[in-house]
């Protein structure tokens, strides 16, 4: 199985109070296609930074970021944006649905940006909404929905354009236990059905246990964690 995501010697530091702090200090990682990886770590340990680098939202100080065989860190701004738009799906902790768009419009947005606005796209979005159990709320605005419902819509939005990679940043951080479990179930099954590669940054051991592999990000480096056999996928 070839690697969808490959990180080689990744360094990233930030200016904090006049001093530079290394958040990532030579991170190496290979994520095979269709597999899932959990990133655990304290707040500020660099999990989100790592996701942003993979998604092309940020660039490393040093090192290489490969996604589907292409050097993302060498791409220009526009190329990274287009690559992200077409091949990456994002799920955020705070859902981040656009308040001015309806549920259906939010889900359609990644394809709208590609000017793919035909019947087929609409059907696919509706099918995904049905899959996450919210087809009947297609015309509602996000502020009418609960947190769990909003995150399920965010899942649909992340997958509607069939990306190769889904990057989930604390997807259950703002949810209670039941809702968190439901979202994780959905996320797991949706990516498994599509063979999508998943990278999840999380505090939750529960969430980490559902992935093929797990790493702890500590002092800027990835440390492999042992998971109970047979729990993860891939």
């Amino acid at each position: 199985m070839s690697a969808t995501i490959e990180l080689r010697g990744l360094w990233r530091s930030f200016e904090e109070g006049g001093a530079r702090r290394d958040v990532l200090s030579g991170v190496d990682l290979e994520v095979p296609a269709g597999s899932s990886v959990a990133l655990l770590g304290r707040s500020g340990s660099g999990k989100s930074t790592l996701l942003h680098l993979v998604g092309g939202l940020d660039r490393p100080d040093r090192g290489e970021v490969w996604v589907e065989g292409r050097r993302v860190d060498l791409m220009g701004e526009r190329e990274r944006t287009l690559a992200r738009r077409r091949r990456v799906g994002f799920v955020f902790q705070s859902f981040d649905l656009l308040p001015t768009l309806t549920v259906l419009e939010n889900v359609l947005l990644p394809m709208e940006l590609e000017r793919r606005t035909g019947r087929a796209e609409r059907d696919r979005a509706m099918a995904l909404l049905a899959r996450v159990g919210l087809a009947d709320r297609a015309a509602a605005f996000p502020d009418r929905l609960s947190g769990g419902e909003q995150q399920r819509i965010a899942l649909a939005r992340a997958l509607v354009h069939e990306p190769a990679v889904v990057l989930a940043d604390e997807p259950t951080g703002n949810l209670d236990g039941d809702n968190a479990a439901r979202v994780l179930d959905l996320l797991g099954s949706l990516v498994a059905e599509r063979g999508t590669t998943l990278l999840v940054a999380t505090h939750s051991r529960e969430a980490a246990l559902r992935q093929s592999r797990a790493f702890e990000l500590a002092d800027g480096r990835l440390v492999p964690l042992e998971l109970a056999p047979g729990v993860g996928r891939g």
């Binding site: 989100s48 930074t49 942003h52 998604g55 939202l57 940020d58 701004e77 526009r78 944006t81 287009l82 992200r84 738009r85 077409r86 994002f90 955020f92 705070s94 981040d96 656009l98 308040p99 001015t100 768009l101 419009e105 359609l108 947005l109 990644p110 709208e112 940006l113 590609e114 606005t117 939005r157 940043d169």
Partner: protein, 852 residues
Amino acid sequence: MKPVLLKASLREVARHPLQSGLAVLGVALGVAVALAIQLSSAASLRAMQLSAEAAGGRATHSVVGGPVGLDESLFTRIRVELGVRPSAPVLEEHVPLADRPGEVLQLLGLDPFCDAPFRTYLGPGGLGVDLSAFFTEPGAVLLAETTAQRLGYTIGDSIPLLVGASEVEAKLVGLLAPPDEFAARLTSNLMVADVSTAQELLGQTGRLSRIDLLLANDDPAEDERLLAALTRFLPADARIEAAGARAGALAAMTRGFRLNLQALSLLSLVVGLFLVYNASLFSVVRRAGALATLRCLGATRAQVLRLVLLEAAILGVLGSLLGLVGGIGLGAGLVGLVTQTINDLYFALSVRELTLPPALLLGGFALGVGATLAGAVPPALEASRADPRGARRRSQVEARARKALPRFAWVGGALAVVGGAALVLAGPRLPVAFGGLFALIVGCALLVPPLAALLLRAAETPLTRVFGAPGALAARGSSRSLSRTSISLAALVVALSTSIAVGVLIASFRTSVITWLGSAFTADLYASTPTLVRTRASALFPTEALAALENAPGVDRVLRYRTQDLSGPRGAVQTVALDTGIEGALVFQFQSGGSEDDLAALARGEAFFVTEALTHRLGLRRGDTLRFDLARGPLELPIAAVVHDYGSDRGSAIVDLGAYQRASGDAGISSLGLWLEPGLDPDAALPPLRAALPGGVSVVLRSNAGLRRETLVVFDRTFAVTGVLRFVTLLVALVGLVSALMALALDRARELAVLRALGLTPGQLVRLLGAQAVLLGLVAGVIALPVGALVAHVMIDVVNGRTFGWTLLAFEFGPRLVLTSLALAGAVAGLASLLPAWSALQLEPSRALRQD
């Protein structure tokens, strides 16, 4: 204020340099414009005062004459027969320098032997120069040393002067050394000559402009007795004026013009006030949590109020200081335009310097800080009244701000009604009328938020249908952002509607002037002497030139005009006497009267026609009687008709030339209208006619088309200042909108970052923000159009009607104006979105996502 709170305020201002900078810029622009207009207006007033003081000196009274001044023998008789010893003859005129284009000096002809008690600034005990050359050299004149240096003349130089139609030579024979700085100012624009030399130079042998008197008796009763005796002694066309009346009359003449400019300049400050309100509101909303924490920690409501006001005061002080500097710079630029207009329309005036009266500077500063604080009071109150628990949640503050919008609408509606009522009840009181106009504009602006919400809601469906999600994003984003942008939108509506109104006013006025020119000026060519004040031609037309033109080949008939300021019980009135018997002479646009009988009465010399500006100024009506005291007796006739005329805002009376000549004995002519034989082209006829003129006289000969062109050039120049003010007001609105959109972009940083994470390219982001801004701009434009039309209607009534007494022949509010206004609104808003878009692009999406 606790030092820590002060520190917090200063840091708050410093931490948002762009937001603070934009607010400072808005205040600065408002203060700069208001101050610049005040300064240039004050400079022209000061110049009028200096000119009057320089000419009048310490005189307590003056004897002034009719159209052709006074006979100089009157001076001797007053001195010898009446025994009024402290008296001095004066002949004065503004004269352009032929070799220094644009330079105009005040030629003052004096008698040095009688003048010492009057113009003491010329030097102790007289002129302080060797008088032999002064009396013996032909054309001998004196200039202040600094004036001679400035103009590059040295003693012995010839100074060519343009006097009426001719060029004459003066000779610099000495330099005045003013004893102090005040005297130096008074003399800076003077050219002093002996009265007989001045008479020669000006071609007014035996004539005086006036006789100055110094009635400094300790006994007022004695003064009264002397004045009564003088009044009985004077000929019919002479009268006594108290000192100060001159400067007062000059100032009164331009009062309307200056007041209009000041009112317009204050509008940009009103727009600036909206901007400050918006900036303060944004600052309060953004820091809702921090302010609530302060309250939780024990800060009182009053402390929070002071904190917010202090921040506004910091911005206000910075903006006002910057505004003072900008105002002085802009004032120096505007003084030229203001002076040019006064020169074009009223009288020759030379303004050399922009004085900086401390009171004006202080006033400008106070106005800026005051407006800033006034704009910050509502948000500061809002912040101080918030419940500490509730205020921690920003959305609640936001919700309260949104709830306040309907209140704005009520206040706005009420203000508009009060403004309308003030306009109706103001009558001729201009400040009340302008107050009403302001209230109407601001009232309409406060109606903007609810109106904009309605319009955006209406635009949502079509935009979503046409553009899909991006269209919906733009429409709903604009709609949701109204709590942030509506105040800036209101400011934009104020600026746009004022701009539209001023545009309509100018266009309507221009069309009216063109219509009037077309109907009132029917001759093929016009001839006059060169004049300093473009709306007047009172200098004498050379008789040899008159004869040459009347007999020139190709000339069919000639219409003679005599334009003079005539005095009567109602003061001085410009009177145009014309050959009523010439075909084509009696063409008018009538406001009232104008029947065949009225025209016949004018032609028989039995009636006046007056312009509507004169009826306005003197409170006259058709049927009233107008009287002038002329050399051979009074000219008293009824007013048979009122005509439209935009030539002078002082107005004028029209009378038959024969009737005027019989009453005045003045056979002079000021200008001519010439009709050519049929088939001749006026422009082609000009060169041979110019060649036919005798040498040594300079007569200005213009074709009808040329005259219209020149009139419109003067018209356009008159409104050049207005153009500058319109531009700056729009600029302030632009700054306000930039500020609001910046706040919005900062506010939506997370949302924009998510869009970027989903694959929105930088170009798409710029287009999205641009589309939202343009949409808001178009909404502002749609609201500003009817408001602008309403304000234009009121302005035409206030500015043209009540200030100058003109009714317009057109109201120019056409599709072109609608389209250009909408385009302007969209363009201003689109332009305003560039900086916020750039700033949004600078914010890395990863950082925005991490920060939440």
